[in-house]
């Protein structure tokens, strides 16, 4: 069975007046039908740009330089704007971080939801569209769907708006849903509800999900696979359990240590020192070199290769080279 989505050596750069910024640098991953891949990383690690590249919606100044994005045997990177707009919203849908600003303030919810159906399901009558919207709003757990349709975004709370975004994205039953930090802007209690909702809907519609987040806590609840991104590269990729129980990359170690847990003692929560590297500067070695506790001389000069273990767990770090041994 072929994969739903295969991203192959994708490179996306932004061209600024200071030079080229390699926001996504040779990123590859695969996704099956109904599978959930979480992409984890700090802000600026290139996870959002990866998702926007798949959608063909890289912001002004940015461009896909090379690589393939094979979705259902077709390369999205080669498609025209017109072809892409037929896929967006129908085959691949997306929800975003801040539900407060993601809905157009001057149109009603009904108007904005109906738009998706008008574009992608032209055969539906007005009545059918209406019925479908109501059904979907009920599915995402919103009371009074009829009234919601007539309301404007500012009349609803953040959690409600995110539910509406999810309802809207699932209207055409997409095969892939990209969720870019869908819970970050919400209250903690609402966060859990939204994650639960997404999991239920995934099971119901068999939608594959790419979940982009910087919160490893959210990942555990829903993902099958996790890819850790750092400075535009995927530095580690594994099944969710492998990653949690046997993390390989020093950066992932840092991320997991920075995650608060209930059984933690005081002072145990450890942030990773330093910040992400300046992507404008050309670098030879490992991007994590500056912040890595275990940095070695080879890390400075040579970019780590990808080492893959038998269970598919892959990592980009010299510690997994066959000749590696601890040298102080």
């Amino acid at each position: 069975m072929s994969k739903l989505l295969t991203v192959n050596e994708l490179c996306t750069s932004f061209f600024t007046k200071f030079g080229e910024v390699k926001a996504v640098d040779h990123v590859s991953f695969e996704l099956d039908k109904g599978e959930v891949l979480a992409i984890v990383g700090e802000s600026g690690s290139g996870k959002s740009v990866t998702s926007m590249s798949i959608m063909g919606l890289v912001a002004k100044g940015g461009k896909i330089i090379s690589g393939e994005i094979i979705f259902e045997d077709e390369d999205l990177a080669k498609k025209s704007e017109k072809e892409l707009s037929k896929i967006r919203g129908k085959e691949i849908a997306m929800i975003f971080q801040d539900p407060m600003t993601c809905l157009n303030p001057v149109f009603t919810i009904g108007n904005q939801m109906e738009e998706v159906l008008k574009i992608h399901q032209k055969q539906l009558s007005k009545k059918e569209r209406h019925a479908k919207m109501v059904e979907m709003l009920e599915k995402v757990g919103l009371a009074n769907p009829l009234e919601r349709l007539k309301q404007y975004p500012h009349e609803l709370s953040g959690g409600m708006r995110q539910r509406i975004m999810i309802a809207m994205s699932l209207l055409c039953n997409p095969k892939l849903l990209i969720a870019d930090e869908p819970t970050t802007a919400l209250d903690v209690t609402i966060q859990a509800q939204i994650v639960d909702l997404m999991r239920d809907l995934k099971d119901e519609f068999n939608t594959a999900i790419i979940l982009i987040t910087h919160d490893l806590g959210v990942v555990a609840g829903i993902a099958d696979k996790v890819a850790v991104m750092y400075a535009g590269e995927i530095v580690e990729e594994a099944k969710v359990d492998d990653l949690y129980y046997h993390p390989l990359h020093p950066y992932t170690w840092g991320l997991l240590k920075a995650l608060p847990r209930l059984d933690m003692k005081e002072n145990e929560l450890r942030p990773i020192p330093g910040s992400t590297p300046d992507l404008l500067l050309e670098r030879k070695g490992c991007p994590f070199f500056d912040r890595c506790e275990y940095a070695m001389e080879c890390c400075k000069e040579h970019r780590p290769d990808k080492f893959v273990k038998e269970n598919g767990h892959s990592v980009k770090c010299w510690r997994y080279h066959e000749d590696f041994k601890e040298v102080e």
Binding site: M55, L57, A59, K60, E81, K82, S85, K86, I87, R88, G89, K90, A93, M94, F96, D98, T101, C102, L103, N104, P105, V106, F107, E115, V116, I119, H120, Y152, H154, E155, M165, M168
Partner: protein, 310 residues
Amino acid sequence: MFKYILKRIALSIVIVFVIATITFFLCHAIPGGPFDREKPLNPTILENLNKKYNLDKPLGEQYIDYMVDVAKLDLGPSYYYTNQTVNDFIERCFPVSFLLGVCAMLVAVVLGIPAGIISALKQNGWQDNILKILTTILVSLPNFVIASGLMYILGYKLELLPVALWGTPQQMIMPVLALSAYPLSYITKMMKSSMLEVMSSDYIRTARSKGVSKFMVTYKHALKNAILPVITVMGPMFAGIITGSLVVEKIFAIPGLGQQFTEAIFNRDYTMIMGLTIFYSILLISSILIVDIVYAIVDPRIKLGKEKVE
């Protein structure tokens, strides 16, 4: 909503009242009476004149009388044209100025909004660069420079258009252009920056991710949002056009209210100055009021925001 409008109307009336009061006392603070001429008038005539205009009464009484008249929209007699009232002049001259102002406003809006959109969509393209240069220059050229430049080139050199007076469409072209230059470039600039801001907003990204075409995103989703801030400046913009018309009407010898105002200043016709100042204030404050109400109707956030407050 209804309550909001009522509140705004009440506030506007208060402002007009305050302005009328200040204007009244300023005009009565001018040293010397209104009938001080180079040749002193015969004392009996002066007395009669003072009586006719109630100037023999105490100031407080005069003020109350004047305010009552203003409330009845009666701005009193002219000191200079002794048998005509300020209202007569307004009735005669205002339609001319109003037409001039509305035309200038229309030109500014009808050309400025599309120009701003083009500028934003083709950011840093040749269209944008040309518009950038044009708007920068037009913003800096005083209306009298544009008026006289047009007059010299189109009127005297090319003899395409008549250089003075009002009535035919040909006579209207130059004054309208001179008056609309500034608001036109202002609206263009504003529409551009507003459009750019909206186009990079999250809900535009959402719309694109739904599969909405670029065209529909621009003209349905972005335009309605981008135009809102432009609406808010319409009121002050209209004020600028009205005050600009004082100078432009003089240059083109247009028999409008602005020309009348200039003449009143020249003749030191205080009741006329006072009356026209109040009239202009009423005009501008109501235009701002109308803009606010329109804005509240167009922007769903305002409407409901206010209702919640009440």
